[in-house]
Symmetry: C2
């Protein structure tokens, strides 16, 4: 049995457990194969210089687990079921690659010295100490019962704080009974799509064209028909929506993603009228409405008709996507179904961070953070816009002064892919807009880039614009 | 317009926003109804003693939001779409009740002085300060990028720590590529059921009989046929499983819930053989295996055949359910599908608490906490068992010395409902076992209680057993 290399650390105690672990390892590595007869407990105890009871305990443990088979008259053998490692990886999809997050927008792989990929706020600005302080303050005063299974619809204190906040800042019609805490906008959206699908009748979901590439794969896999509806300078084309036959629509009224236009007043009215006509549902993705720089943001659609609109929001742009903390504000019956959905899937959101956000909202820390970020992002947007005007004068920046990205239409005839590739070679990571359009409209869409500027200093944005100007010049040449 | 009660706080600034908020409130409350013509901006500015520009800005904001309609020659009117509050709550399901968590096990409502409802660990023992310290230590060293969108399968550092921990403590065959972080066992289970259903072919899931009442509604709504398979003193009846025709089974091998028996060695071998015969999948709910008091816990089934078994675990019993943090250890191809499922539903688990658990595991804080709790729970279990022997000698405690609940078979002829009700009247909250059985077997199941003892001191457990003895005596009388 010295072949087994059962290294025992006598100072660590639990010798039986050590022996059992050694056997398991030997079976898995293939050193011990099925049917192999083991030495008697007496012999092995002598070999290892341990008491016989220790070996008996180890054998019993391994027998109970199914690694060994003990038969009277036949001794103890390795079970035919225990297989070595080499056998355990069936062909098929590769395992998740640790350290390689599945960026749904399809980031280029090499690290860029200027990363203008959209979708993330300035992560360096996340108020780490204040966030932990809020979590600690909350945890200090929570009753013990609050650490049990949570309300699947969200901690009542957070739903109340959010209702007040969204009413005040987004003109939402929110009360705690309408608010359901979700792990971000994507989670709220996927839950709503699951509920729509469960109603049967092969429902269709209308989606803006262009739209976020991050959400498309999720929507495509949700089992609903997708109807793409064009966006123009007034936002979603509601007449086209009506022709689509869909009775549910996902929109970004405050700041269309990616074009940056605001849904016009006429279209807002038409959209609500549409929803009433078809008994439809509007899913309002309010993803970055905290950041409007030239005036107050347009209030949310949900505040106009809370029976027809579900407001979806999160802290992913205001604090950090890593928190996975968001909300849906829905008509009471639908809010109850969303809450029920959570009780049948993940039993609700983690509680400590819900209380941390409650504390952050209640003490005004959230508002202060947003004011700081609004100033910072505005300066960055202005710097990038000015630098683009200088280095890429033929490009046109679309949309209102808001958010954390720019939609930049390239000069006519420019090759979007060549610009993206050329910029990447200069260390500037940018995203082309074509993949955000439907197949039918992508061919006619002018070449364009979506530039996320939240994470770069003004100096670096100016440099990035300069490099981008060179990439476009080369692209036009090539 | 004094009717409008537009209270302006001039020291607070943002007068246009204040005016807009006043109008919205007036529309919602019904004080301003659709079609009402508003005063000109000039008149309202004079009434309110503000500049005309302020009123114009407010009107523009409300028009953009759809509350107002401005037509040339017709002035500005309240839009027909804006409706008052009273109209906004359609009939249907009630809104979520704040503060009334949806306890799926159906707890009795009134607060009990001795709460022996099963399913929760000792929440008073949650190491609040050490948990926050672990979160703070993790947040201090995280790179900024770690605050972006996470790996939907879980933070690599946590997957690596868990793989080591589960290999060491549960004899699991775990590597980081097989570990997917989920928001608890329920979340892992619901995701796996969704994947099974998506494969089509009207799949069946076999479930132990009796089983956890918490999981039943979720499984019933997952769109799979449920096949209940009897449990006896050796655990799941594998021959009955084979007859059920199901090719997936949910089991609790280390400590069957609720009966507390351990799946025997022969049954473990038979179960694995079954899975290979039918090309089936075993879902191993390892819900409380950290707590075995008389010997080392039986290693997990997953370690015996990692191709056929998915190990599901969480910190809900070891730390607190409120953390909503758990894992699935699955064959690589299935792990990839689970990760993909998260990328299409909620984009992954919150990151800070994943790093806090990583830190807790890495520094040995998790092991120390478990050692402390093991001693405490063992003493509580022993105290309750002894007190039941004294006060309820005709009852029989099932199962091994493990976990945080007891399955107590009441004396024959005892009326389970009457005992539960009688105990409740004395302030002792207990759960009857009948609802955990299938309809077909519930009639023959002996009367029994499931007692959760984790949260009560030994003194209070002795008192609870005494009261329970009285409730049984009265129940037998009645």
């Amino acid at each position: 049995m010295t072949d087994l290399h059962l290294p025992l650390d006598r100072s660590a105690g639990r010798l039986a457990a050590q022996i059992a672990a050694g056997f398991r390892a030997a079976v898995r590595s293939g050193r011990l194969t099925a049917g192999t007869r083991l030495p008697s407990s007496r012999d092995l105890a002598r070999d290892l210089d341990v008491s016989r009871g220790v070996v008996v305990t180890a054998y019993e443990q391994l027998t109970a687990e199914g690694f060994l088979i003990a038969r009277r008259g036949d001794g103890t053998r390795i079970a035919p079921l225990a297989r070595p490692d080499g056998d355990t990886a069936p062909p098929g999809e590769p395992a998740p690659r640790p350290g390689a997050p599945d960026r749904l927008d399809g980031d280029p792989a090499p690290p860029a010295s200027h990363d203008l990929t959209p979708g993330r706020p300035d992560l360096a600005a996340f108020p780490r100490e204040r966030w932990i302080a809020a979590a600690r303050a909350a945890l200090r005063t929570l009753p013990h019962d609050a650490l049990g299974y949570p309300d699947p619809g969200g901690v009542p204190a957070l739903r109340a704080e959010l209702a007040g906040y969204l009413g005040r800042v987004r003109a939402a019609h929110a009360d705690p009974g309408r608010v359901v805490i979700m792990n971000g906008v994507a989670h709220g959206l996927s839950a709503l799509l699951a509920l729509l699908r469960a109603q049967g009748g092969n429902p269709a979901l209308a989606v803006e064209d262009p739209t976020s590439a991050r959400q498309l794969p999720m929507m495509e896999s949700a089992g609903l028909r997708l109807a793409r509806v064009p966006v123009d300078d007034e936002g979603l084309d509601v007449a086209a929506l009506a022709r689509s036959g869909a009775r549910a629509v996902l929109v970004t009224p405050a700041h269309q993603y990616p074009t940056g236009v605001v849904l016009s007043a006429a279209r807002r009215a038409a959209l609500i009228a549409w929803a009433r006509d078809v008994d439809g549902l509007i899913l309002e993705d309010d993803y970055d409405a905290e950041f409007r720089y030239d005036r107050d943001p347009v209030g949310c659609l949900q505040g106009v008709d809370p029976d027809r609109v579900v407001l979806l929001g999160s802290v992913s742009k205001s604090l950090a996507p890593a928190l996975r903390l968001g909300w849906a504000v829905a008509p009471p019956a639908l809010a109850a179904r969303l809450r029920d959905h959570r009780s049948r899937t993940d039993l609700g959101a983690p509680v400590v961070e819900q209380h941390a956000l409650t504390e952050f909202l209640r003490t005004g820390g959230y508002d202060r953070h947003l004011r700081t970020m609004r100033r910072r992002y505005r300066a960055r947007r202005d710097a990038l816009t000015a630098a683009l005007a200088a280095h890429l004068p033929a490009a046109r920046v679309h949309g209102v002064s808001a958010g954390i990205h720019l939609y930049v239409e390239l000069p006519p005839g420019c090759d979007e892919d060549a610009v993206v590739a050329g910029a990447a070679r200069m260390g500037v990571a940018v995203t082309g807009a074509r993949s955000l359009w439907s197949a039918g409209r992508a061919a006619d869409a002018p070449p364009a880039l979506v530039l996320g500027y939240a994470g770069l200093s003004e100096t670096r944005l100016v440099k990035a614009a300069e490099l981008l100007g060179q990439a476009v010049t080369h692209g036009a040449d090539g």
